[in-house]
Structures are given as structure tokens and as C-alpha cells.
Amino acid sequence: MKKIILSLLAALAFIGPAQAAGGGQPWDKFPTERLTDMAALQNGAKLFSNYCLNCHAAAFMRYNRLQDIGLTEEQISKNLIFTGAKVGETMKTALDAKDAKVWFGAEPPDLTLIARSRADGAKGSGADYVYTYLRTYYRDETKPTGWNNLAFPNIGMPHVLWELQGQQRAVFAEEKDPHDPAKLLHVFKGFEQITPGKMSRAEYDNAVADLVGYLQWMAEPNQAQRVRLGVWVLLFLAVFTVIAWRLNAAFWKDIK
């Protein structure tokens, strides 16, 4: 029986994460320490309301929830609300859905849960994806917007942060497919900066990390509370388990 259990556990080890679609450009690692850094989250919220909320909504997120990352209601309504919404309302966008469809070919998706929904077991977390995606826009004149993206090929959205990052070009090389010599692969070799942005590369990566940290926080504002509470619950249950075990032993010592 033990052997069966052990081999079962061994088999489980091979299973790995679900929904591993894989393929495409690998994702960079999002620096997760931003999630506990209030200043970084506040900066992320600022970038989010300045650059993202114009077209995207976060319709399940209330502005006053930003108090959880250390902002006051006054700071929120003065600095972060541009639509005239009340502080208890959710983050709607000013962009008309019909216009969006005409301009970009699709309605910009709601961003409340974007960081949670884009995870891929084989490639990384949703935050990794967004962190990679926001840093891999490149100039591509064959596209209607003039922009393309490595993490999201043929994307409809132009590079909104281009003033900060500047413009870059992607260098591709044709290489033979090692599995099938008849095929040529289009392999990404690196980026080349065309025009400088307001930020250096390190500054830009830093700003994007803050923004992604904010998106990750917004997708589940209770995350930190959940983990903190979980530690106490498990500690309690550990004590309870010991008591239950001893109680059981005390009763069962009569059974011969």
C-alpha cells in the first residue's frame, strides 16, 4: 500500500501546472517585492490612472479601495480621478465602446483582473506576462498603428508609454529549424533603440514594475491580508491537530 501511495505522489510530481499552452517568447520575471512596497504601488496607481484608465476600465475596482495602499480619500479624488467620478465609485473609462471598436478593432479589455487572468502555468504568472508585454513594444510599419509587440503579436493597441520608453526596433534573424531543416524560423535577437525616451532603460523597467505591481494588487486587493491570516489559521490548526491527536490517543489506549 505504501508503495502505491509513493508511486502516486511520484506521478503527481510530473504533472506540473495546468493550462500550459507554452510557446512564443519567454516571459521576464516580474520583481514580486513591489507587491509589499507601498510607495511602488502608489506610483503604479498614478501611472495606471494617467496612462491606462483613459481607454481601459477597471470596472470592479473602487477608487476608495486605494486607501489600502496608503492613500487618503482626498489624495485619491484630487490626484487620481480624472473622470469626475465619486471616490466610492468603480474605475469606469471615458472612452466610448463603439468608438474603441472603430479605432482599435476591439473594445479595450477591463483591467481589474488582467494580471490574474493572463497567467500561464508553463510560462509564468500574469504579472510576468504584463511586465514583459509592456516592455516589448517595437516599431513595425506594416501594422496600422505602427506598433507591434513581442509578447502579444499583432496587437491592436499602440504603445501608450512610448514617450517614456522611446522607440525601439526588434531585430529578427532567419534560422534553420533544428527539427526540420526545410523550415526557416523567425528568431528574435534583441531590441535596438531608435529614439530615446524620457526615461533610461532602467528607469522605464522600474516604472513598469511599479505599474504591474499595482495591477497585480488590484486583481486581488485582499491578497496580503489573505496570506497574513493564513499563517495564523495554520498555526491554530497545528496546535489543534496536536490536541486532537493526544485526545485520540487517550481514548484509544483502552482498545486492545
Binding site: 502505491i4 470592479f60 481589474t112 487572468s117 493564513g230 490548526l237 489543534f240 485526545l247 489506549k253
Partner: protein, 468 residues
């Protein structure tokens, strides 16, 4: 009716209340005895026997958390997704209740699969416990329906497209299929009507049946008594002069304190998931389900939640080639039945004729339909298990040693099928799942033959028990 009792003069308020109740509701007291204090369970029940009471615990958890979720959830295609996020963000402790419910769904299947496996290895379904097993399989069926309908309610992409795919399977049934699918959906596509009827089934109809079946399962069990890892009937040997089995101990307090240990350990694992990994790598909450349902955008890869995937794999295994293999097997079985079936007179031809008819039907209808049939039969085949098993002993402990290997392969095969069902289809995966499907059915259908052969070990008179 029992005699009316009088509390002794000057007795405590507690005694007086007890006597008052005893006179008016004696069932309460007799039920306590029958099911707890004088229900004698074998003293050698091991680790595997935790999962029955844990399944009951999870059922209660699901009902209680479900009641609170319904207070805030809106079964409306335009509001469902939003209301779930409202629960997650704005309802005090809503996130905890929701994670408990979503984790509870998976935990329920983990517990029930372990519980069923216990029944299989110790022969708990054998005479006189056939009905206990049948009620149990019916509970499992209800649970599958409950989980499937519940999964639509968050109205995310995977909810929507998962339901779409599964309901479309019913459309593959010849003649009535399309109408049946329409009846299930209540519309031509999965929509508001589907959501509302699934909600109704999920919160009222199926839970009612489920609770009824659980009661029947427990009552039938307590009538015949629990099996044990040795498969020895403890009622055969009684304490002289009483009706108490020699190897039996009162369920309360011995197994109540025992089960509390199981509950404690279970709650640790359960809480670890709820608090630290509620998505569990996309297995318990699929990432795609954080995107609202969009009838115009089909996800690249649609997979049911993990607990359905072993059966889903078997469905996908039935390709045209697989149907040909099944036709071949049916014909060989027919010929064998003709030659060795031992039928008399005109009935000699029955297996042959039957096999030809089935084979012809298999080639007439689409492979997709046979996939649905295979998936359905894979679950239904559990019902006749008590009659498929012809082994002279119940427990795997006293079966031939190679039986352990066979049961080991069975469970590994089931896990592999589950794993393949999560993944997008691939050539190798299809071949493996086809082999796995044949093994799964072979295991059950050939059981009347293989369970009888080999060298059985002597079964002891009394259970094997070492004092703790």
C-alpha cells in the same frame, strides 16, 4: 410507545429536560444510540477510513458557504461575473467564503475519489453492502452534476465555454440530441436562460437529492455495518451473551475522536490552499475564468476542471480508429461468447448476433457519439461493481499479490488519463489515452474472470489489530 417516565423528585433541571424530551421525542435518543454510541465499528479501520467523514464535512462546508454566496450572487448573465467580484472585494469576508467554496469543490472530489478507492481495495461494495455502494455511486453522479452546473455560475470564459462544449456533447446523441441540448441550454447558445436553470439546479434540485442520497448511504451502512481493511465480517463473532461484535467498538467516542484528527489534518491542507494558493496553479480556479464570458471569443484551449478530466480523456480517446478497435473487440467477444459462452440451443447464437448488431451500430453513428457513450459508461460501470467482482475474499490484503500491481496500474492509469485531459490534444496523448481507456474498461469488464484466479491467502477469523 414507550412508557411515560417521571423525573425523580428534586432532580436537576438538565435531568428534567432530558426526561421531558425522552417522553416526547424518543427517536432522538434511539437514533443517537443506533448511529453513534451503540454503532459498533471495526476497531482496525485505518487511514483510508477518514475520507467518508471528511466527505460529509466538505458537504456541510459547501452548503454553508453556498448559503452565504447566494446572498450576494446574481444569476444574471449581465451581472453574474460582476457579482462574484463584488463578493471578492466588497462583501466583508466574501473572498474567504468564495475561496472556501471554490476550494471545497475540488476538495470534495479529492475526498470522494479517496473514499471510492478505499471501497475498491477493501471490497467494501461486496455483499451485504451492495446498496451502500450504489447509493455512493449515485452521490458521485450528483456531485458531478452539481460541480458542472456550479462551474457555470461565475460566468467567466472557462465557465461559459466549458458548459458550451459539454452541452454540445449531448447534441451528438442520435435523433434526440439536438433537442436535448436545446432543452438543457434553454436557448440556442449558452446564455441567461442556461445560467438561470443551472443556478436553480445547483442550489436547490441537486443538493436536495444529494442530501437524500447521503442519508440513504449512511442508513444503509449503519444497517449492515462498516467493512474493514481485512474484509472480515465482525458481526460473525459476538461478545458472549450480547449482540456486540467482539471486534467492534462504539463509534462514539472512539471514531469521533479519531475522525477529529482527520478533520484537523484535512483543515490544514484545505486552509493552506485557501489562504496561500486558492488558484492552485490554475487547477482549482482556471486563469481564463478571471475574464468575463464572451460568446464571440472562443479560448484556444478549453479543458474541464481536473476532477472531470479522466472521463473527458476517455471521451477524447474515441476517434474513428478507436471505434474500429472497439468494433474488433466487440466481434472477438461475440465469437468467444459463441464458442465458450455455454448457452444452450438457439441462444448459442445470441452473443454472435448481439456483437454484430453492436458493431454495425458503432459504424453507423459518429465517433463523437461513441465518445459520449464511453464517457457515460465509464462512470456507470461503477454501479455493477459488486457483481463484477467474483473474488472469494473482499480485501486486497488476502488477494493474490499481483492484484496489488493491477490496482496500482489502475490508479496510475486514472491519474494519467486525468493529466492528459487537462492538456491540449496531441498525437502521443491520444494514443496513451486510448490505451488507458481500454485498460480502464478491461479492468472492470474482465473482472469476473481475473478476480477469480490466482492464489488467495487465508482470511483470519478476527480482524488484525495492534493496540496503539
Amino acid at each position: 410507545m414507550a412508557e411515560f417516565k417521571e423525573a425523580p423528585a428534586g432532580s436537576s433541571a438538565l435531568t428534567q429536560t432530558t426526561v421531558w424530551l425522552e417522553n416526547r421525542f424518543p427517536t432522538l435518543f434511539s437514533a443517537y444510540k443506533v448511529h453513534l454510541s451503540e454503532y459498533y465499528a471495526p476497531k482496525n479501520m485505518n487511514f483510508w477510513y477518514f475520507f467518508g467523514s471528511l466527505s460529509l464535512l466538505v458537504l456541510v462546508l459547501q452548503i454553508v458557504t453556498g448559503i452565504f454566496l447566494v446572498m450576494h450572487y446574481k444569476p444574471d448573465a449581465a451581472k453574474a461575473f460582476e457579482s462574484v467580484e463584488y463578493i471578492m472585494r466588497d462583501v466583508p469576508w466574501g473572498w474567504l467564503v468564495r475561496y472556501m467554496h471554490s476550494t471545497g469543490a475540488s476538495a470534495f472530489f479529492v475526498m470522494v475519489y479517496m473514499h471510492m478507492w478505499r471501497g475498491m481495495i477493501y471490497g467494501s461494495y461486496r455483499k451485504p453492502r451492495e446498496l451502500v455502494w450504489i447509493f455512493g455511486v449515485a452521490i458521485f453522479l450528483c456531485l458531478m452534476g452539481e460541480a458542472f452546473m456550479g462551474y457555470l455560475l461565475p460566468w467567466g470564459q472557462m465557465s461559459y465555454w466549458g458548459a458550451q462544449v459539454i452541452i454540445n456533447l449531448f447534441a451528438a446523441i442520435p435523433f434526440i440530441g439536438p433537442d436535448l441540448a436545446l432543452l438543457l441550454r434553454g436557448d440556442f447558445v449558452v446564455g441567461d436562460a442556461t445560467l438561470n436553470r443551472f443556478f436553480s439546479f445547483h442550489v436547490i434540485a441537486i443538493p436536495l437529492i444529494l442530501i437524500g442520497l447521503v442519508v440513504a448511504h449512511l442508513l444503509a451502512l449503519h444497517d449492515v455495518g462498516s467493512n474493514n481493511p481485512d474484509g472480515v465480517e465482525i458481526k460473525a463473532k459476538k461478545v458472549p451473551g450480547t449482540s456486540i461484535p467482539l471486534d467492534g467498538i462504539p463509534f462514539h467516542p472512539y471514531y469521533t475522536v479519531h475522525d477529529i484528527v482527520g478533520v484537523a489534518v484535512f483543515l490544514m491542507v484545505f486552509s493552506a490552499v485557501v489562504f496561500f494558493a486558492p488558484e492552485l496553479g490554475g487547477y482549482f480556479l482556471e486563469y481564463n475564468n478571471f475574464i468575463p464570458a464572451d460568446p464571440l471569443k472562443t479560448p484556444l484551449h478549453i479543458a474541464p476542471v481536473w476532477y472531470f478530466t479522466p472521463f473527458y480523456s476517455m471521451l477524447r480517446a474515441v476517434t474513428d480508429d478507436m471505434v474500429n478497435v472497439l468494433v474488433g473487440i466487440t466481434l472477438v467477444a461475440g465469437i468467444l461468447g459463441f464458442l465458450k459462452g455455454g448457452f444452450k440451443g438457439i441462444w448459442r447464437f445470441a452473443p454472435l448476433v448481439g456483437a454484430v448488431v453492436v458493431a454495425a451500430l458503432m459504424k453507423t453513428f459518429d465517433a463523437k457519439f461513441w465518445g459520449v457513450v464511453v464517457m457515460g459508461v465509464a462512470v456507470m460501470i461503477l454501479f455493477p461493481l459488486p457483481w463484477l467482482d467474483r473474488s472469494p475474499v473482499k480485501s486486497i490484503r488476502y488477494r493474490p499479490s499481483w492484484n496489488k500491481v493491477l490496482y496500482g496500474i489502475f490508479i496510475i492509469n486514472f491519474v494519467v488519463l486525468g493529466y492528459l485531459g487537462v492538456k491540449p490534444p496531441s498525437d502521443v496523448g491520444t494514443l496513451v489515452s486510448q490505451a488507458g481507456t481500454l485498460f480502464y474498461f478491461g479492468f472492470f469488464l474482465l473482472m469476473p474472470w481475473w478476480s477469480r484466479i490466482g492464489e488467495f491467502k487465508p482470511v483470519p477469523d478476527r480482524v488484525v489489530f495492534k493496540a496503539h
